[in-house]
């Protein structure tokens, strides 16, 4: 059965729910929470439709819908949505994490429930929209609109230094994305001022209907790259991340790590590579170096963090570096690994933030030194934490392994040094994660304040169970995921190979002319 406008429904349902919440009475906090949860759950269930009806043999966009949006003055902006193998699972990841985020805020958010839930739901619309939008302006609109609820989430419900973190977050992101806007406008006029349609522009770029000089392509690539690099965040644009993560409420951190960071790497895959392949090829060595610096630097800094949340935040810098490295290896394995790793990181880091949040709710501290021997009082929490930790460091049988090994194989095939250095991430990851685990959960119960912490309850179990299930699934049987991604990723790779081929022919012919 084909549901018309299914993407629009999945995208806008949460925003609609937020609108309804606006008119719910302020008093019924429980009603508001339940309504938000149910709305997000329905969105998730509807989004599953996409998985079941996705044609895994095709790499092109599916579930396409296109309605003219703004058709005046010189503009032609379409409300053009569609997903392919790259965005499919990111959409699902988003709709999957939002109900969990709502559930995890059930007790920890005690004031201004109504605007909080509205922010989460509007954020969901923005995020799903980013992954579905196929019109450059529409993409930009979702990309920016999403900042506002995130800004409020950090700014109103965050920790001590929340205002600083929120402002830093929004300024960094805006600075990057506004440059991208100029690049989008430039592309539009290069396209003859006809359309902002991503598919059309990609096609016309690859067929040579739009010609960009090497220099222009480079600058356009840079404009897009900076926007995405800030979001990923790639070294050296990462400094907003630890602040935002530490100050955000648990749900905010989960979404930030789980989905927002993926937008950066998604953007690289969706825009930077297909639109400007030649520039991507020439920039790849430098970006790979930055990615490796990010991987090692993030891991080393994570190792010395006294604060659990900060540790997880820096581990994100390291893990996302790996994703970027895989993308810029331009090999099938690298691209596949990166795409899977986006999912994995969303799951495992999301889960880590949830768990840290649970510990914080009980103990009101995130300092590693305050803990020790928690496994004695919280055995269930400790074992779930272990599973998630192992998934994060890439233990075979869990999801992390699949992504990391593919990325490493992919980048090794491209460049042996890169691959070997990146492999350090697994070693370092194991060190800082296991060491942290040991200091928090193992050993003797040293701090008496920890003696009477309650173990996790039913709500929290219900929250963690689906994530653990997904981790096992991807870890044991990743074929259904990889299959659906592959055709789309091959198209991206093809685009890169074509550009490389064109360059080589060019070089060869040039050599012939000037022997």
């Amino acid at each position: 059965m084909d549901v018309p406008y299914i993407l629009s429904i999945v995208t806008y349902l949460p925003a609609l729910a937020a609108l309804v919440i606006l008119f719910l009475p302020n008093r019924s906090e429980k009603g508001i929470k339940s309504f938000a949860f149910i709305a997000s759950l329905i969105t998730f269930i509807l989004s599953l439709h996409l998985v079941f009806h996705f044609d895994a043999t095709r790499g092109q966009m599916q579930f396409i819908e296109s309605v003219p949006w703004i058709m005046a003055a010189t503009f032609h902006i379409d409300h053009h949505l569609g997903i392919d193998g790259i965005s499919l699972f990111l959409v699902i990841l988003t709709t999957f994490l939002i109900p969990l985020a709502i559930l995890c805020s059930w007790k920890s958010i005690t004031y201004r429930i109504k605007p909080y839930m509205m922010c989460l739901l509007v954020l969901e619309t923005g995020m799903v929209g980013v992954f579905c939008a196929l019109d450059l302006v529409l993409f930009y609109v979702f990309w920016e609109v999403m900042l506002i609820p995130m800004y409020f989430l950090i700014g109103i419900w965050g920790g001590e230094r929340r205002v600083y973190a929120a402002v830093k977050f929004i300024l960094y992101t805006m600075a990057g994305s506004l440059l991208m806007l100029v690049a989008i406008l430039y592309l539009f006029f290069a396209n003859g001022g006809t359309s902002f349609d991503l598919v059309q522009i990609t096609q016309r770029l690859s067929s040579g209907a739009i010609r960009l000089s090497g220099l222009h392509e480079f600058w356009l690539f840079m404009a897009f790259l900076i926007a995405f690099a800030i979001k990923v965040p790639m070294f050296p644009f990462h400094t907003w991340l630890p602040d935002a993560h530490v100050e955000a409420p648990t749900a905010g951190s989960v979404i930030l790590a789980g989905v927002l960071l993926k937008m950066g790497t998604y953007g690289l895959l969706r825009f930077c590579l297909p639109l400007f392949p030649a520039a991507a090829i020439s920039a790849a060595p430098y970006i790979s170096i930055l990615a490796i610096i990010g991987i090692i630097y993030g891991a080393l800094v994570a190792m010395v963090q006294p604060d659990l949340k900060k540790l997880v935040a820096y581990s994100s810098v390291s893990h996302m570096g790996l994703v970027v490295l895989g993308i810029f290896a331009f090999t099938t394995q690298g691209l596949q690994g990166s795409t899977v790793q986006m999912l994995n990181h969303g799951l495992s880091t999301g889960a880590l933030f949830l768990l840290v949040g649970m510990i914080y709710e009980r103990r009101h501290s995130r300092m590693i030194s305050d803990f020790g021997g928690l496994a004695h009082v919280n055995p269930v929490l400790a074992s779930v934490f272990l599973v998630v930790t192992l998934s994060s460091i890439g233990l075979p049988g869990l999801n992390g392994f699949v992504g990391e090994i593919l990325v490493l194989a992919g980048s090794f095939a491209r460049n042996k040094i890169c691959g070997s250095l990146a492999a350090l991430s697994m070693v370092l990851g194991a060190i800082y994660m296991l060491w942290m685990y040991q200091r928090v959960f193992l050993g003797k119960l040293t701090n008496p304040a920890n003696a009477s912490l309650p173990d996790i309850g039913l709500r929290e179990k219900a929250l963690l169970f689906p994530i653990i299930l997904m981790m096992l699934w991807i870890g044991v049987y990743s074929a259904p995921f990889l299959q659906r991604m592959e055709p789309s990723l091959r198209l991206v790779q093809q685009r890169i190979e074509d550009a490389r081929g064109a360059e080589e022919t060019y070089r060869v012919t040039n050599n012939k002319i000037t022997p």
Partner: protein
């Protein structure tokens, strides 16, 4: 003069007649009924707006021996000015009562100012442009000092008057030089003169530069902006709202027409200057706005910055650019009217509470007003789904289309700076706790509620479904060709 001409003059006539009538009625109106004078002004503006239908699509004709040009461009702006006037009268209605400055002359001056602005937009002769500017300026000088018992209001008025007189004098000098160079002050004749071989005299070029200074003052371009913060801060907030939108739109209306229609041959010479002015204006306005602790002053600097953005469209000097200027002025009007509407409502009796600290916790105490202000500020910052984004998008696309990439980049980087200070107000409203001796603002008066409500709807409408207004702005700007 035929009946047709009278029909085309009708908006002007209505404004003047209603203004004079208000002046005459004032002594006979008991104090408790003075609020009705505002309604008369709004009614006059509405009738005048209706009578604009004779001007729309009237096929660009000149009347009164070339003194006035009646085209869609002038009709578009006159409509905008009438909206500004009516909205300002509405905003002032209860505000003036609160501040005990409820007098009929106030509304009469608003109507006169509107008539001056309309003349600026439809003038076909430099002398009439000058008259329009003067009619507008004198009315606003008085309005700025309307709260005569308040020393800040006096300061505001005096400063505006002194600096404004200088600017007008320079403008007049420019007109004289142009007359010297071309032998005429008529737009069409000047253009025809310039088209002749060797028609462009050096005096004309210099005269145009002086003209630019005069307009730069009116629309607050850096370095002619220094009056803005003090004048905006000292004037009664309802007047500030009017000053921030009205004279600026009128200044750009006249400037754009002169640039495109009268001196198209001078753009080569002057575009680099405008380019620099745009960058200076955007940058200074935004950077200094960051330092402000008074919301009113912050909005004053933001108004300077926005003049810079609008100038980007002027620099582009194309159909897209002109359309973008028109569209942006519409968006700009509503963003500012909403922002100042909330500010004047939050300023409390005495019009003093306009500092960031006074906004702490208002998100909880006055949720709807705070939400409206947030939307206006988000729109001023240019975040999508608001009119402000569409406006900037249009302006910068005009710049990119003409190859002014650098200008567009500096423009968007300026937007990042602006996010900082606009969002700081949101932080105060939603995050900060109010101080101990903070007083609550009284509930918003109904006329302000109405204006803010309408403004919010229009800001969202322009952001989500701007087709009609985009097309209208583009179509109206075609009259300049």
């Amino acid at each position: 003069m035929t009946t047709d001409d009278i029909l085309l003059l009708l908006p002007q006539l209505i404004l003047i007649v209603a203004g004079v009538a208000l002046m005459l009625l004032e002594p006979f109106t008991p104090p408790e009924r003075k609020g009705r004078m505002a309604r008369i002004a709004v009614l006059a503006a509405a009738v005048a707006a209706y009578s604009l239908k004779f001007q729309w699509n009237a096929h660009s004709r000149t009347i009164l021996h070339g003194m006035l040009i009646i085209d869609n461009y002038s009709a578009f702006f006159q409509f905008l000015f009438l909206i500004i006037t009516a909205f300002s009268a509405f905003l002032s209605m209860k505000f003036n009562e609160r501040e005990s400055i409820q007098r009929g002359e106030y509304y009469a001056l608003l109507l006169f100012a509107c008539s001056g602005m309309s003349l600026m937009a439809s003038s076909g002769d430099l002398i009439l442009t000058f008259l329009g500017i003067e009619i507008l300026s004198i009315a606003t000088y008085i309005l700025a000092g309307f709260k005569r018992t308040d020393i800040r209001s006096n300061e505001s008025s005096l400063k505006y008057f002194l600096l404004g007189s200088f600017a007008t004098a320079i403008l007049l000098y420019g007109i004289a030089l142009i007359y010297g160079g071309t032998g005429t002050t008529n737009y069409i004749s000047i253009r025809e003169m310039a088209a002749l071989e060797g028609g462009v005299q050096t005096t004309t070029v210099i005269g145009f530069g002086l003209l630019l200074v005069g307009f730069g003052f009116k629309v607050a371009l850096v370095p002619f902006h220094s009056w803005v913060p003090d004048v905006y801060e000292g004037a009664p907030t309802a007047v500030t709202a009017f000053m921030a939108v009205g004279p600026k739109a009128a200044g750009f209306a006249a400037l754009l027409r002169i640039l495109v229609q009268v001196f198209p041959h001078l753009t080569q010479d002057w575009n680099p200057v405008l380019w620099i002015l745009a960058i200076l204006t955007m940058t200074l306005g935004n950077v200094v706005a960051v330092l402000q602790t008074s919301v009113k002053r912050m909005l004053a600097y933001s108004a300077i910055a926005h003049a810079g953005y609008i100038l980007v469209g002027v620099v582009a000097n194309s159909d897209t650019g002109s359309g973008a200027v028109l569209f942006y002025l519409v968006v700009y009007t509503f963003m500012n009217l909403v922002a100042f509407g909330v500010v004047l409502s939050f300023s409390r009796k005495g019009d003093q509470h306009v500092y960031l600290d006074d906004y702490a916790g208002l998100g909880q105490k006055a949720p709807f007003a705070a939400a409206a202000l947030s939307l206006a500020l988000i729109s001023l910052a240019g975040i999508p789904l608001t009119g402000g984004f569409m406006g900037k998008f249009y302006l910068f696309s005009a710049a990119v289309q003409k190859g002014y990439i650098g200008l567009a980049i500096i423009g968007v980087l300026n937007s990042v700076v602006s996010v900082y200070y606009y969002f700081r107000v949101l932080i105060y409203m939603y995050v900060k706790e109010p101080g101990k001796d903070a007083t609550d603002p009284e509930p918003m008066a109904w006329p302000v509620q109405a204006i803010v409500g309408i403004g919010v709807i229009i800001i969202l409408f322009l952001g989500i479904h701007p087709d009609k207004i985009l097309a209208l702005a583009g179509y109206s700007s075609l009259a300049l060709k």
